[in-house]
């Protein structure tokens, strides 16, 4: 296990460092914004205990809302990426900082406040030289609690494309890559501990020095932000991909092809950016410019067409393309050859023993076989229930299992039949047999680049470049590349480049 993690870190060091830095950046910005909001708010409400109580209650309620829900609520208003992640984090962090500041200020020895009043000090003197310094230990402990909270919660930023260490946790869960999971989780835990320790050290310094320190960080941060905004290359296009190795391979190919077509176009990649609806919203709001999407997904999840998905891949693509164009003014380029749809797999030995070639063959021997399916597949009408009706078969027993576990269970012989995605590398890894869907029950899932009409019009060079992949990459090619990336842990960029070169798509 440790070897795996070390190897993983070794291979992805640069990307991990970037994620770590991104994590620190998001957390720091969130904490600074929270400090700027929560502390003045508490100061303003010290002499208005009723309103102070109400704000405390509201801040408390916000904290009880699951962070995922807050992110979901925010997407329509502020879109995706770093901004909503920071807003959500700020909402979370306000409570501890506000409450501690408020409590710190309201629990100062009244004798000292009377002394300050009796000596006729100015309001400013009283606040900055007496009240805040005396409340500082409480305020700092609030900031410490908030920081630890924010660093932990910031892992969720990955869900909405905010990046950070959460990317590795998410990636680890989705691809059953424990090394990635451990890297993400351990690093964020270490970061929280270090930050907590750092604040403890900082609390030794005087109020004045701390104030100057915060100011310097704010100014540097602001300058850095301004600089990066100012220096943003004008012709940058952003290509994003869903979670996992396959989309990452594809967007790396997109990048190589675009760069070949037009050298001055800068391409920014956002791998492991999120789920379908999330990426689609990002595309609509111009936060990203291109992402690869499947025809089946378009028809079933995005355009919600009332008629049944056409089982003929070309027709399905045509339907998807038209619907996207009419409903969303989007351009859906021609798909690649491979299909990444549902499939039913068995072990080679099982296939031999029962002479299994198509799903229809299960009618014969199904009652002797046990099945394990992904929970979604087990429930959806276009999954197991529909399949069983279409092919009239019955299995001895069926249970649900995590997607990544079901392959292991199948390979170990604990179950005999599972669902699969046709390009999953495990099919190759465990030498599994995919049963033919002779009745074309499963809708076609062909991948193709999706972008807005507007973008396609203004970036013809990108359209030209990405069209080169149309009809390329067979299911077997994709399986092989996925195997290289998710099982062999080769970098997606290298695998993508190798394919493009071998197939003369890249000079």
């Amino acid at each position: 296990m440790i070897d795996e993690v070390v190897a993983y870190v070794d291979k992805n060091a640069a990307a991990i460092m970037q994620a770590l830095w991104q994590h620190i950046e998001i957390s720091l910005i969130a904490i600074l914004i929270t400090i700027v909001i929560a502390i003045p708010l508490a100061i303003g409400l010290v002499n208005r205990p009723k309103i102070g109580e109400i704000i405390s209650q509201i801040a408390g309620v916000i904290q009880t809302i699951p962070s995922l829900a807050v992110l979901g609520i925010l997407i329509p208003f502020v879109g995706i990426g770093t901004v909503p992640a920071i807003i959500a984090l700020v909402l979370y962090a306000i409570m501890p900082i506000f409450q501690n500041t408020y409590a710190g200020l309201t629990h100062i020895d009244p004798v000292l406040l009377e002394a300050a009043d009796a000596l006729g000090v100015t309001k400013r003197f009283k606040l900055f030289r007496i009240e805040l310094p005396l409340a500082m230990p409480m305020i700092l402990s609030g900031i410490r609690i908030a920081t630890v909270l924010v660093i932990g919660t910031a892992t969720l930023a990955a869900l909405i494309g905010g990046g950070g260490l959460g990317t590795y946790i998410l990636l680890g869960i989705q691809t059953n890559n424990n090394a990635a999971l451990i890297v993400g989780a351990v690093l964020s835990a270490i970061l929280a501990l270090v930050a907590s320790w750092l604040i403890k050290v900082l609390s030794q310094f005087s109020f004045k020095k701390l104030g100057i320190g915060v100011l310097v960080v704010l100014i540097l941060g602001g300058a850095g932000l301004g600089w990066s905004l100012f220096n943003k290359p004008s012709q940058t296009i952003t290509i994003a991909g869903k979670m996992g190795g396959e989309p990452e391979i594809l967007i790396n190919m997109y990048k190589d092809l675009v760069k070949q077509e037009s050298l001055q176009t800068k391409v920014q990649l956002k791998p492991n950016f999120g789920g379908t609806s999330f990426l689609f919203k990002a595309l609509q709001s111009d936060q990203i410019d291109v992402y690869p999407e499947f025809t089946g997904t378009v028809l079933q999840s995005l355009v919600h067409s009332p008629k049944k998905v056409n089982s003929e891949p070309q027709l399905a693509y045509r339907d998807a393309k038209n619907a996207l164009s009419q409903k969303f003014h989007m351009r859906y380029l021609k798909p690649m050859a491979y299909q990444n749809g549902y499939a039913i797999t068995v072990r080679q030995s099982t296939a031999k023993k029962y002479h299994l070639r198509t799903i229809a063959d299960l009618q014969r021997v199904g009652s002797q076989l046990t099945g394990a399916f992904d929970p979604d597949f087990y429930q959806q009408s276009d999954g197991y229930p529909g399949l069983r009706k279409a092919y009239h078969f019955q299995l001895k027993s069926v249970r649900t299992m995590e997607p990544s576990l079901r392959y292991v269970a199948l390979a170990d012989g604990r179950v005999d039949v599972t669902d699969a995605y046709t390009t999953d590398p495990q099919i190759r890894e465990y030498h599994l047999v995919v049963l033919k869907d002779s009745k074309q029950f499963f809708p076609p899932y062909q991948g193709a680049p999706l972008m807005t009409d507007q973008f396609a019009k203004t970036h013809p060079q990108v359209v030209r470049a990405l069209s080169r992949l149309a009809g390329k990459i067979t299911t077997r090619d994709m399986q092989e590349m996925n195997y290289q990336v998710t099982v062999k842990h080769r970098s997606a960029a290298a695998v993508a480049k190798q394919y493009l070169q071998q197939h003369h798509l890249l000079k």
């Binding site: 000292l112 009377e114 002394a115 009796a118 000596l119 006729g120 100015t122 003197f125």
Partner: protein, 314 residues
């Protein structure tokens, strides 16, 4: 001059001060004395408007404090609290210069002033200026509190039971310091205490307050000799106070009626046996007149001789 006119203060419908009239003259060390809860601290705080009277006026040098700029008013009034009330986040010097900071004094002038006052309260500036309050004893902290109150050369200093939390030795030292300082500087001091001995020791004049009412005011010896009522008498605990009054000599059955040729005089100041003895020291045959009776040298001798026989409650 501080003038209280018909000052009344109610807290939650309860009288803390009831229609109180009092004048404190410039340069006086004036003591407000009374049992705890009597309203003496409340009265003190009406001077710098930490307490706003329900009705009545408080004037300093003819100006109603209600009409003055609050912070300016307070910056020119020294204030010493019961516990010193030094700010724990500031050094001794920072604490001592708070009013000077707010008055905008230049740094060197502030430093010199604090150094000067530190030596007056017997604290070595080199040793103490950079200490934090938690490194001070109670007595040291209160000395810094006094330095803080005097730093801005106020015409008026308010002291709210400043020595009540100290041990007897420190208390006596600080009482001496206050008396010395008061002699050296031309400042009015209003001093609140519940300790009758302290009141007698310090006061130029004092006022006895009980249940928000001013019972009696005047010089200590006068009050001792002529308590206005039973409460004042009991509060001063005249019989056991250690102070021996001429009246007590009469009460002991000594003295004789005034004769025709008696050349008697009346004591002017304290009406105590000590003053009497001092007089007899210079002129052994001097007769004195107390409440229509004549006391002679032999009366004093008999009185002091009898004191040794009876049990005392001191």
């Amino acid at each position: 001059m501080i003038e209280f006119t018909n000052v009344t203060k109610k807290f939650d419908g309860q009288f803390a001060l009831k229609d109180l009239n009092l004048t404190i003259d410039d340069g006086e060390l004036f003591v407000l004395v009374g049992p705890s809860g009597s309203g003496k601290t409340t009265l003190l705080k009406t001077i710098n408007r930490l307490v706003v009277p329900t009705s009545g006026t408080v004037k300093i040098d003819g100006e109603d404090v209600a009409d003055s700029h609050l912070q300016k008013l307070r910056r020119h009034i020294g204030y010493v609290l019961q516990t010193g009330a030094l700010f724990p986040n500031m050094t001794v010097e920072q604490n001592a210069t708070i009013q000077l900071d707010n008055l905008g004094w230049p740094a060197q002038k502030k430093h010199d002033r604090v150094v000067e006052l530190m030596s007056k309260v017997n604290l070595d500036p080199d040793q103490f200026l950079n200490r934090m309050p938690d490194e001070l004893s109670g007595g040291e902290a209160q000395r810094v509190g006094i330095v803080r109150a005097l730093a801005a050369r106020p015409k008026l200093v308010l002291m709210d039971e400043p020595f009540s939390a100290l041990d007897p030795v420190s208390r006596r030292q600080l009482q001496k310091i206050i008396l010395n300082l008061h002699q050296q500087i031309d400042t009015t001091i209003v001093f609140v205490t519940h300790d009758m001995h302290e009141a007698f020791l310090l006061a130029d004049r004092l006022a006895v307050i009980h249940n928000g009412v001013l019972l009696q005011e005047g010089e200590p010896d006068y009050l001792m000799a002529n308590p206005a009522d039973e409460f004042v008498k009991r509060f001063f605990d005249v019989d056991n106070s250690g102070t021996r009054l001429l009246k007590q000599v009469l009460n002991a059955g000594l003295g004789r009626p005034v004769g025709k040729d008696d050349q008697a005089i009346t004591l002017q100041n304290s009406q105590t046996v000590y003053e009497w003895a001092g007089l007899l020291e210079k002129n052994p045959s001097q007769l004195i007149l107390v409440d229509g009776a004549i006391l002679t040298q032999s009366d004093l001798i008999s009185y002091v001789a009898d004191l040794g026989k009876e049990p005392t409650n001191d």
